[in-house]
């Protein structure tokens, strides 16, 4: 546990000492701010506010910005040869992976925490359902963890950060859009199965509407677990390749 903690602190420190992470946060907050205000202007005088809406937008943006956060996690270490150095230390491979994962997840948590400002403003404008906001944040947090695990897996597979980011984005986009698979597939059982693997269907129709479902929680935790295990296996493969 101590080893994971050391790696975690190192990774988190790297995020806050790198300008890239701040630029990503700037872009995300700017985009979320635009969509949030656009939605408020549209609802004014017509409909009540929806505390989950800025978070659904944030989840959509996560598809693109999470791979930017994870692309360097293992790809950079691979390219610069520092992964070998890490592997010579008295560390288990899973400890390296978990430490890096929790570092990225912690940064993501800080980032989504900044949007509490949006919730506070919404509360100031019109009483909103805080229960829905809480459940939407919980879901977004799990969603972020699963997205980071996906991005990290591709970072472990590649030495090139750009390729890792691109593959991560493509995978997350497919996982998000899989919700619409029913429109293109004739095989309904298969369409339903693929839909059940969609990040959107596991977030937008449960957490984002105020209901925390056990199966959807298991889904995100399962995706995290599976991909972290796969990432560990990829890192471990360097020992026997």
């Amino acid at each position: 546990m101590r080893h994971i903690w050391i790696i975690f602190r190192r990774e988190l420190g790297q995020y806050f000492s790198s300008p890239i992470a701040y630029f990503v946060a700037f872009a995300v907050l700017l985009l979320t701010g635009f969509t949030f205000n656009d939605d408020l202007a549209m609802r004014n005088g017509r409909a009540p506010v929806d505390p989950a809406l800025p978070l659904i937008y944030l989840a959509q943006f996560s598809v693109f910005f999470v791979p930017l956060l994870t692309m360097r996690l293992l790809a950079e270490e691979n390219r610069e040869g520092t992964l070998e150095l890490l592997m010579t230390l008295p560390l288990q491979d899973y400890q390296i992976v978990l430490g890096k994962f929790f570092g990225a997840w912690a940064y993501y948590t800080v980032l989504i925490s900044l949007t509490i400002v949006h919730q506070a403003l919404m509360l100031w404008l019109n009483p909103a359902d805080l229960g829905i906001a809480f459940s939407a944040y919980l879901g977004l947090w799990l969603f972020g963890g699963a997205s980071i695990a996906v991005g990290m897996f591709f970072s472990a597979l590649n030495e090139n950060q750009i390729v890792a980011a691109f593959l991560g984005m493509a995978a997350l986009l497919i996982l998000w859009q899989a919700d619409l698979v029913g429109n293109v597939l004739n095989n309904r059982p298969l369409a339903e199965f693929i839909r059940s693997l969609s990040f959107q269907s596991n977030y937008s129709y449960s957490f984002a509407i105020g209901i925390v479902r056990f199966d959807h929680t298991v889904f995100f935790l399962g995706v995290m677990g599976t991909l972290l295990l796969a990432t560990t296996q990829v890192v471990q493969s360097r020992r026997w390749r």
């Binding site: 701010g33 229960g131 399962g222």
Partner: protein, 551 residues
């Protein structure tokens, strides 16, 4: 020079390279075959051809380079690699099992402050005390999988509340067109509640379609159509009402024709599962099991025998609705004579009788003073409730008579004036004079003074009998029922008599007010969220970059 060398580069094809290329090609072809099989669900030509190419490729690899094949399967990388794959597959299997168990358990926490995904306290007993097990059949086409996902938490509220009494089944009308036709579904979406037969199949004779948002707003796109907890509960109640609620309309005395002039109220009752039938009181008494008897403006007066049958029914706790037109036509005789048996009974047993007048209300009318609009109502009475905000329905009675209510009603009887005219109204007793001078609606000394009772409701506290009297019947005809809250009044009257919908009163799930803020507040919000917050993060980033560059 370099490009010349490149173009002159020879490609050497040896056994090993051909074998490896064919193995790659074979693996790709097998993956394509698998994906095509899963997508189409059948052995299509693409599946077969890809599978053949795949197997041929792998076969070629095994034939041309058996050593390479063997070493790939037994080498160090293969052993470690397959170990890794197996570990991941095992983990995925465990996750899938836990996921399936979690999905089956239906465990969920409702965080909405209004408990939108929690079965309302007054619906739960309805579900738990269902007389027979039911099936909720929800049809969603492939295109509407998202709608299914959005509605499944609401549908599951019912099946989770009583799993042994409520079964939830999803179906695709495109995949099961015969089943959809059996339910009478002709679109991509529809939800039905049915009793289950002894063999476990839905009983189509006892099936009610849940009204959806599109039934209320026909212009709504199919993709936005939806149901809510209340509408599903109402459909279940309608199913439960089938065969249990029976409303009889008296015939044979010149009443309003239910099959031509008042089909709206007849169909309205049938649509909610209430049985509608007719009865000729001159031939038979009101049978047992009748929920309510409706007497819809007869022309001829009822005989003593008929009045006795009504008295017997009310005496046993029956519910009766009488609508009596004033005698504005010479043939209208219903309760117009002083010695009318029914009028005498009503006065003696209930303390109410018709005034035999025509009501004019100079303060509350529509188009003509003959069309009296109810000016006052008994606040809080269920018959006048328009909606859940507490506002009242104000019906219009075209040519109405009023009711006299005894100052001291008979024992155990409570009489209430539900709708009355304004104090300025008056009741003309000389109907012949009104017929001679139809345009002369002036208050005279001989007239009955307002406010006059247009609708009265009486209840016998001992027998639980209920009697509802209305001084007009035109308002329930097809042309007029849709105007001036007529439908609401009709529904409320039937509800009051039969207690049909008393079991379900659900507050609207989303009663939240729309956002309504001045533009300066929105500008301040935009300034903070688009300006201050991202800029602050950017400035910190720039500071970090500047500090790093100085090192």
């Amino acid at each position: 020079m370099a490009s010349e060398q490149k173009s002159q580069r020879t490609i050497i094809l040896d056994r090993l390279s051909v074998a490896r290329w064919s193995s790659t090609l074979g693996a790709v072809a097998l993956v394509i075959a698998l994906v095509a099989l899963l997508a189409s669900g059948e052995l299509s030509p693409v599946v077969v051809v890809s599978a053949l190419i795949g197997m041929s490729g792998l076969g070629l690899w095994m034939t041309l380079a058996p050593e390479d094949f063997r070493s790939t399967l037994t080498g160090r990388r293969a052993v470690y690699g397959s170990n890794s794959v197996l570990i991941i597959l095992l983990f995925v299997g465990i996750v899938l099992i836990v996921y399936a168990m979690a999905a089956r358990s239906g465990i969920a926490a409702d965080f909405t402050s209004r408990g939108y995904y929690t079965l309302k306290a007054n619906i739960r007993p309805v579900i738990e005390q269902l007389s027979r097990p039911i099936q909720i059949t929800a049809f969603y086409s492939r295109r509407l999988l998202t709608n299914q996902a959005l509605e499944s938490p609401i549908l599951r509220l019912f099946s989770d509340a009583a799993p042994n009494k409520v079964r939830l089944v999803y179906a695709d009308p495109d995949v099961q067109p015969i089943l959809a036709r059996q339910f009478g579904l002709d679109s991509a979406y529809g939800i039905f509640v049915s009793y289950l037969s002894a063999d476990g199949t839905p009983d189509l004779n006892f099936t009610v379609r849940v009204l959806t948002a599109r039934d209320r707003m026909p212009n709504l796109p199919l993709e936005e159509d939806h149901v809510n907890e209340r509408w599903i509960a109402e459909a279940i109640l309608q199913l439960e009402a089938r065969g249990k609620y029976r409303v009889l309309f008296s015939v044979g005395n010149g009443e309003v024709n239910l099959d031509s002039d008042a089909t709206g109220i007849r169909d309205g009752l049938r649509n909610v599962g209430i049985q509608v039938a007719t009865i000729d009181l001159s031939r038979e008494g009101v049978p047992q099991g009748t929920t309510a008897l409706v007497i819809l403006a007869p022309v001829r007066d009822f005989t003593q025998e008929m009045a006795d049958r009504i008295a017997a029914y009310l005496g046993s706790g029956g519910k009766v609705l009488i609508m009596a037109e004033p005698a504005y036509r010479s043939d209208i005789r219903f309760m117009q004579a002083e010695d009318s048996p029914l009028a005498k009974y009503l006065w003696q047993a209930w303390g109410i009788r018709p005034n035999r007048d025509i009501v004019f209300d100079p303060l509350s009318y529509n188009e003509t003073q003959y069309y009296v609009r109810a000016a006052q109502y008994l606040e809080g009475h269920p018959i006048v409730q328009k909606d859940q905000t507490g506002s009242a329905a104000r019906p219009l009675f075209p040519i109405a008579q009023s009711w006299q209510i005894a100052t001291e009603p008979p024992a155990d009887v409570v009489v209430r004036r539900i709708y009355t005219t304004s104090p300025e109204a008056f009741g003309k007793l000389d109907l012949r004079e009104v017929a001679r001078n139809p345009d002369r609606a002036i208050r005279e000394a001989a007239d009955l003074p307002g406010p006059l009772t247009l609708v009265a409701a009486a209840e016998n506290l001992r027998t639980q009998a209920r009697l509802l009297l209305v001084g007009d019947a035109d308002w329930v005809t097809n042309d007029l029922i849709v105007a001036f809250d007529g439908q609401i009044l009709w529904t409320n009257m039937i509800d009051w008599l039969t207690a049909f919908l008393e079991r379900v009163t659900i507050e609207p799930a989303f009663g939240q007010l729309p956002l309504s803020v001045p533009s300066r507040d929105l500008e301040l919000t935009a300034f903070i969220t688009v300006g201050v917050l991202p800029t602050a993060v950017l400035l910190v980033g720039l500071w970090v970059w500047w500090r790093r560059s100085r090192r």
